[in-house]
């Protein structure tokens, strides 16, 4: 698929595994060879020693002539021929007594024990031995090359089958790796068969190796998230259509009522409803646009911490006339020194919606308090009212889109969803709880935004 960086895992595994095995094999082969060589040397040396000792014993026993004849007849059986000389001390002078057949004389004065020296233009290994009373002396020798060759042959005979096994092993690795990677192919096929319109998680019932299972789990987690986002968008479109249709229906019906009204009074009433309906649709469209605008893509970089007191004051000042029209009291209490990391425009939108909600739903003459409190590095903005409150089982649904409280008011049901979205994007906690105590008992409604410690200068 991707020609620049694509590679076959299988090929790579086969090369790496075979290469590693071959390297290990080479090292061990070298060791085996060395050891085989050494063993062959030791073996040949002990043979030399043995021959020398036997010769000495035979010479001392006076059967030299017979032995030499025998030896001559059997010459060539030994893979590495041995040549020898036997010396005898006579009257204080050493002289050659016997030599092996077809023999060129050794140099004189060869030491006892092993030594290597040139002989007939090549290297030979010699062994000298004397009997106890220094009457006889035996020197045996073998051609170094022949010894070497024997040792090499022994070493190689061990290595050749192992070397032949290497390509077989590469084949086995190829097969095993291919077999082991088959689940990856299966997952790839499952992913390839996914329907983008109806994303469903991969079937997790088939067992996968523990190395690949996390990939499938991660894929499934991703699929679920994407599907959820998909669903969310689809639901939002459906909800938005629903929310637009009802006010549109109301507008049309009220306009038709106005058209057919038989009294001027009822006509005026219907027309007033039409105008209110247009205002309501405007509000709804604005809220929808706001919700669309509160998008992480529009946030830019991490916002600088700011003191929310100024924004609170500005928003409340803006909404004060509305509160006064409804005979509501709007009280602001702010603690100094708060810093919260939030985009100012978003904070303004969130506050506007919270205070606007309180004004809408708390009812005529209600008291609404906007408090900014600080505890340690955390700051909390609370908008509380002494309105009719919200039943606790309904609270959890309130921040869903298009859900309104039970109170009859002209909200479009988007305010708290907008606040919830801003809270989520600003890493603040949104809490719905009891508000101010009511004169007739019980509590109103309160919404708090809790901001954690803001980074940057306090």
């Amino acid at each position: 698929m991707n020609s620049t960086v694509s590679y076959s895992l299988r090929r790579r595994l086969v090369w790496l595994l075979t290469g590693a095995v071959a390297a290990i094999w080479l090292v061990s082969a070298w060791v085996v060879y060395q050891r085989a060589h050494h063993e062959a040397d030791a073996l040949l040396d002990s043979q030399l020693t043995q021959v020398a000792e036997t010769l000495l014993a035979i010479v001392a026993g006076g059967e030299v002539e017979h032995f030499v004849k025998e030896l001559h007849e059997h010459a060539g059986r030994n893979p590495v021929p041995i040549v020898f000389e036997i010396w005898h001390t006579d009257d204080g002078a050493m002289r050659r007594l016997v030599t092996s057949p077809s023999h060129a004389v050794f140099e004189t004065g060869l030491p006892d024990g092993f030594s290597e020296r040139p002989y007939q233009g090549a290297r030979w290994r010699f062994y000298g031995l004397q009997d106890e009373d220094a009457e006889y002396r035996v020197v045996v020798a073998q051609a170094h090359d022949a010894r070497e060759q024997l040792a090499r042959e022994i070493g190689l005979s061990l290595l050749v089958p192992a070397a032949l096994a290497l390509p077989l092993m590469a084949l086995a690795v190829w097969w095993v790796v291919g077999r082991s990677l088959r689940p990856v192919d299966a997952v790839a096929q499952q992913v390839g068969a996914l329907d983008a319109q109806a994303l469903a998680p991969l079937d997790e019932s088939t067992p996968l190796p523990s190395e690949i299972a996390p990939l499938r789990s991660a894929l499934n987690a991703l699929i679920r998230r994407v599907a959820e986002a998909f669903d969310n968008e689809r639901r939002f479109t459906a909800d938005a259509a629903h929310e637009l249709r009802t006010p549109l229906a109301a507008l049309k019906v009220q306009a038709q009522v106005a058209q057919r009204a038989q009294t001027a009074d009822s006509q005026q009433r219907a027309l007033a409803q039409v105008i209110a309906g247009v205002d309501r649709m405007t509000h709804l469209v604005e809220q929808l646009l706001t919700l669309a605008r509160v998008d992480p893509a529009n946030q830019g970089s991490v916002p600088d911490p700011l003191d929310p007191a100024g924004t609170i004051a500005a928003v409340c000042a803006e909404l004060l006339p509305q509160a006064q029209r409804q005979a509501q009291s709007l009280v602001v209490e702010t603690a100094p020194g708060c810093r919260v990391a939030v985009t100012e425009a978003w904070l303004r939108i969130a506050l506007r919606n919270l205070v606007d909600n309180a004004l809408r739903y708390a009812g005529e003459g209600a008291r609404i308090e906007v408090r900014l409190a600080r505890s340690g590095p955390a700051c909390t903005i609370t908008v509380a009212d002494d309105g009719p409150g919200v039943a606790s089982d309904l609270r959890s649904q309130l921040s869903a889109r298009f859900v309104r409280g039970e109170v009859e008011a002209d909200g479009c049901g988007l305010g708290l969803s907008i606040v919830a979205r801003i809270a989520a994007l600003s890493h603040a906690q949104l809490e719905l709880g009891d508000g101010l105590p009511r004169a007739e008992g019980g509590h109103g409604f309160a919404v708090s935004l809790r901001f954690g410690a803001a980074a940057g200068p306090a």
């Binding site: 229906a249 109301a250 049309k252 009220q254 038709q256 009522v257 038989q262 009822s266 219907a270 309501r280």
Partner: protein, 223 residues
């Protein structure tokens, strides 16, 4: 014709109530599912206009409850959801008709007329008895081909009696079908309307069944 309207949207409910009243229906308007169930369990309506997204009790659940107790009151569903499955589900649960928001007031009125008509097993749109003919859509009445002027209440009363031709309707049923909860009803209002109808359409048309109620009768001219 008394209609129960169940719609939580204040502005739409208000408009529908006003518009259907203009079209000659007596409209009672409720704003949540539980109130609708309470009203439907004690009173009878010619038809129910039911929104689906209702607080406290969903419209479909109200419908299910209604059909569960073998109540055949025609139900017209109002909905903003145009997904086929929503429609199918609504109809399968016993809805008689289905209107997508936004709609036309005339369409709702026409569909309601059709629903009421079908509920009475009547295929033709016009109601007739003897020489009296009533057109529910035009809200007009003729006697032997000549137009007769009726007040809206008289028209509704005649409509009810003709729709249930041959059956005795009790005072209570008639009042329930004619007046909404908001209407102030005089104790003898019904007698007054009956009196006027007899004056305009002939004495034989509406028979009084003593101690029970009234019925439309074709005794003079057999149909």
């Amino acid at each position: 014709m008394r209609i129960l309207l169940v719609e939580d949207d204040r502005m739409l409910g208000d408009g529908l109530q006003a518009g259907l009243t203009q079209a000659g229906y007596a409209v009672d308007w409720l704003r949540d599912g539980e109130a609708a169930v309470a009203a439907l369990s004690t009173e009878s309506f010619a038809a129910v206009v039911l929104d689906l997204g209702l607080p406290k009790r969903d419209g479909l659940s109200v419908l299910q409850w209604l059909r569960g107790r073998d109540d055949t009151t025609p139900v017209l569903i109002l909905t903003a959801r145009d997904q086929l499955e929503d429609k199918v589900r609504g109809l399968d649960l016993g809805a008689d008709d289905y209107v997508l928001k936004p709609f036309d007031l005339d369409e709702i009125a026409a569909r309601l007329r059709a629903l009421v008509r079908r509920a009475h097993g009547r295929p033709q749109p016009l109601l007739s008895l003897g020489e009296i003919e009533l057109d529910p859509a035009a809200r007009s009445v003729t006697r032997a081909g000549l137009a007769v002027e009726l007040t809206p209440r008289e028209f509704d009363l005649l409509h009810l009696l003709l729709e249930n031709g041959g059956r005795v309707l009790t005072r209570r049923v008639l009042e329930e079908q004619l007046y909404t909860w908001n209407d102030a009803v005089d104790s003898n209002a019904l007698e007054v309307h009956i009196h006027h109808l007899r004056k305009k359409l002939g004495n034989e048309l509406i028979r009084t069944v003593r101690g029970v109620g009234y019925m439309a009768s074709a005794a003079t001219t057999p149909t």
